[in-house]
Amino acid sequence: MIRVAAVGDVHFSESPDLKLGDYWAQLHEQADLFLLAGDLTTHGGADQARALASQLSRVRVPVFAVLGNHDYHEDRNELICKILEDAGVTMLEGRSATIVVNDETIGVAGTQGFGGGFAGACGSAFGEPEMKAFIHHTEHLAATLEKSLSDLQSDFRVALLHYSPVKDTIAGERLEIYPFLGSYLLAEAIDRSGADLVIHGHAHHGQEKGVTARGIPVRNVAFPMLRRPYAVYDLERVHTARAEHRSDSRLVPA
């Protein structure tokens, strides 16, 4: 079993959130790795990233992260990534990383993702250049995620995003903003490559639990929705012929 802790949308300001840091300092008692699903800062300020880094330095398990839309606002996303990487965080935009936990391996493939909407009410690469660029951006990120996931040879595979791949986990948000909360293209990529769990944030007023069209569990870990310093998901394997059953992931209540 591998225990995954995850949270998104912590929106750090220049003042470190010591209360969250206190919880994170004990996280190793419940989890083997910690995933951060974007919107790590209020508006992408370097001092905000440093405030977050100061609290992440208290975490005793490997930390993986993607950025969110807030982290891009000051156009200093590369600096934000560097500050966090210097603090030991593995940034996963367009790539993956694998770690060993006891005798099992877990790979995490990440992308921020982007918007566009969901099947039946989605944008398409049609019309003005700006509209085409919008959808092409999502298509590109979905393609990189699919490749990163497909390349993983680990026992467990997790997709880490900021934007949502499904509608289930954004239910509760206003319908008018669905196209800005995620895209079915991300779910399609995940379903093609396979995964055991999908983590995302961004939807503060959404739901925690959802599923892709092919049954892969999706979890929204936006902090304002979770109301917890992190969620914990225990990944267990019941089949020895793991690879043959990857697409048959199912959820069993604790």
Partner: protein, 84 residues
């Protein structure tokens, strides 16, 4: 909601999203007569206060009812088991 109120709500919403002291896109805004009500949850008292200040700056003279609450953090729940 008349036209002026609609534009005022939109103006406040954009200001709350763009002001670096707040940067929040999900604060609920209601305009009732000459009052603006702010509702929802924010991360800190500083941000709650700043949200009220932003509205006062955008709409001088209007009464601001700052009903924002500070996000309450509880302990992590029991782990959820996901079986492959």
């Amino acid at each position: 909601m008349n036209a002026d109120y609609q534009y005022l709500v939109a103006k406040i919403q954009c200001a709350l999203a763009e002001d670096p002291r707040v940067n929040m896109q999900d604060i609920k805004i209601m305009v009732i007569q000459n009052r603006v009500h702010l509702m929802g949850e924010v991360m800190s008292e500083d941000r709650r206060t700043a949200a009220g200040d932003v509205v006062s700056a955008v709409a001088p003279g209007i009464e601001v009812r700052n009903e924002l609450r500070i996000l309450d953090v509880s302990l992590p729940a029991e782990p959820e088991v996901i079986i492959d």
